[in-house]
C-alpha cells in the first residue's frame, strides 16, 4: 500500500494536467483519475507487475480521455474556430485557451497526445513507452507535431514567439 500511495501522490498532478489538456476544464477529470488509479490499485492487488507505473498511468489516463471524447463525439468532429475578433466578450486568457483547445483538435490523435505529454516534461523514453512511437522516431515526430501546432496557432493569429 505504501508503494501505491507514493505512486498516487507522485503522479496525481501530472495525470490531472494531462486529462485537463485532453478534455478541457469542467470535464469529469477527477472521476477519470479515480478509475485509472483504481485499475492500478487492483493490478497491484493481483500481483500483476507494472514495469513503468508513470507510463502505464499516462497511457491509461489518455485511453480514458479518448473514450470520453469518443462518447462526446469531440474526437473526430473538430470544433469550430473560436471567434478571436470578439475581444470585448473574452478575456485574452480565455481566448488563448479556446484557441489552444481548438488547435489541438487539428492535430492527429497521436500528435495531440505526444505534444500534451511533452508539455508535461516526459522524457523521450517515457514518450515512447506511452505513445508506442519508436524511441528513435520521437525527435522527428515531436519536431513535426510542434511545428504543426505552431502553424495552426499562427493561422489563427497567434504568434508563438514574438
Amino acid at each position: 500500500m505504501d508503494t501505491f500511495e507514493k505512486t498516487y501522490q507522485d503522479n496525481y498532478n501530472v495525470m490531472y494536467r494531462i486529462a485537463i489538456k485532453m478534455l478541457g476544464n469542467g470535464s469529469d477529470v477527477t472521476d477519470i483519475l479515480q478509475d485509472v488509479f483504481m485499475s492500478f490499485f487492483e493490478k497491484q492487488q493481483q500481483r500483476k507487475r507494472v514495469e513503468y507505473p508513470r507510463s502505464w498511468l499516462c497511457r491509461a489516463t489518455l485511453n480514458k480521455c479518448v473514450d470520453k471524447l469518443r462518447k462526446e463525439k469531440k474526437f473526430t468532429d473538430a470544433e469550430p474556430a473560436p471567434d478571436t475578433e470578439d475581444k470585448s466578450i473574452c478575456q485574452e486568457k480565455q481566448e488563448m485557451k479556446a484557441l489552444m483547445s481548438y488547435c489541438l483538435t487539428r492535430l492527429s490523435p497521436r500528435e495531440k497526445e505526444l505534444v500534451i505529454l511533452y508539455s508535461e516534461g516526459l522524457s523521450y523514453k517515457e514518450l515512447a513507452q506511452v505513445t508506442g512511437i519508436a524511441f528513435t522516431s520521437i525527435g522527428k515526430t515531436l519536431s513535426r507535431s510542434l511545428k504543426k501546432l505552431e502553424n495552426e496557432l499562427k493561422t489563427h493569429g497567434y504568434e508563438v514567439y514574438k
Binding site: M1, F4, E5, Y8, Q9, Y12, N13, Y16, R17, I20, K21, G24, N25, T30, Q34, F37, M38, F41, K93, M96, K97, M100, S101, V115, I116, Y118, S119, S123, Y124, I138, G139, K140, L142, S143, R144, L146, K147, L149, E150, L153, Y158, V160, Y161
Partner: protein, 156 residues
C-alpha cells in the same frame, strides 16, 4: 558570440529537437553545440526551435486553471473470500456416501458373507486446501479388508 559560415554539415530538425530537449548523447551534444556556435543558419534555427518549445509548453499550460491537491484515495475494502460449503463439506460427504453405496450394492456380494462393517474398514481422509480450486482438491480413501490388506485410493 563569433558567428561565421562553416563547412560542417548542418543539423537536421530531429537532432536539433533532441538537442533542445537535452536528449542527445554527450558526444552528439558537444558536436551540435560546436556547430551552432559556428553556423549562423543553424544558430537561428536553434533559437527558433528553443523558443517554440518554451512557448508551446507555456501556451498549453494556460489550459490548466487550478491544480487541486490529490484527494485521498478511497481504498476499497479487501474482499474476504466466502467460505465454500459445497467444496468443503457437501462434496466430500457426497463422494463418501457414493462410495459406501457402491461397496454396499457392489457385485459379488454374498448374502452369507459377513456384515459390511466386519468386512471392510473404510476411512475417508479429506483435507481441503483453501488455496486450490475445486478441481485440484485431493480426496483419499483408505480401505482395509478383513485379511488386513490396506488399499489407498486417491481421488483427484
Amino acid at each position: 558570440m563569433n558567428l561565421k559560415p562553416t563547412v560542417m554539415k548542418c543539423i537536421n530538425e530531429e537532432i536539433l529537437q533532441q538537442y533542445v530537449d537535452g536528449e542527445c548523447e554527450e558526444r552528439e551534444q558537444i558536436a551540435v553545440q560546436k556547430h551552432i556556435e559556428n553556423c549562423e543558419g543553424c544558430y537561428s534555427r536553434w533559437e527558433q526551435c528553443r523558443a517554440r518549445m518554451i512557448e508551446i509548453k507555456r501556451s498549453l499550460n494556460i489550459l490548466i486553471d487550478t491544480l487541486p491537491a490529490a484527494p485521498p484515495f478511497p481504498v476499497p475494502a479487501v474482499k474476504v473470500p466466502k467460505r465454500n460449503y459445497a467444496l468443503q463439506v457437501i462434496v466430500p460427504l457426497a463422494v463418501a456416501a457414493s462410495l459406501l453405496l457402491l461397496i454396499w450394492l457392489g457385485p459379488g456380494k454374498d448374502k452369507n458373507s459377513l456384515p459390511l462393517e466386519q468386512v471392510l474398514q473404510v476411512c475417508f481422509a479429506t483435507e481441503v486446501d483453501a488455496n486450490k480450486p475445486a478441481h485440484q482438491q485431493e480426496f483419499t480413501i483408505t480401505v482395509v479388508s478383513p485379511d488386513g490388506k490396506v488399499s489407498e485410493i486417491i481421488v483427484q
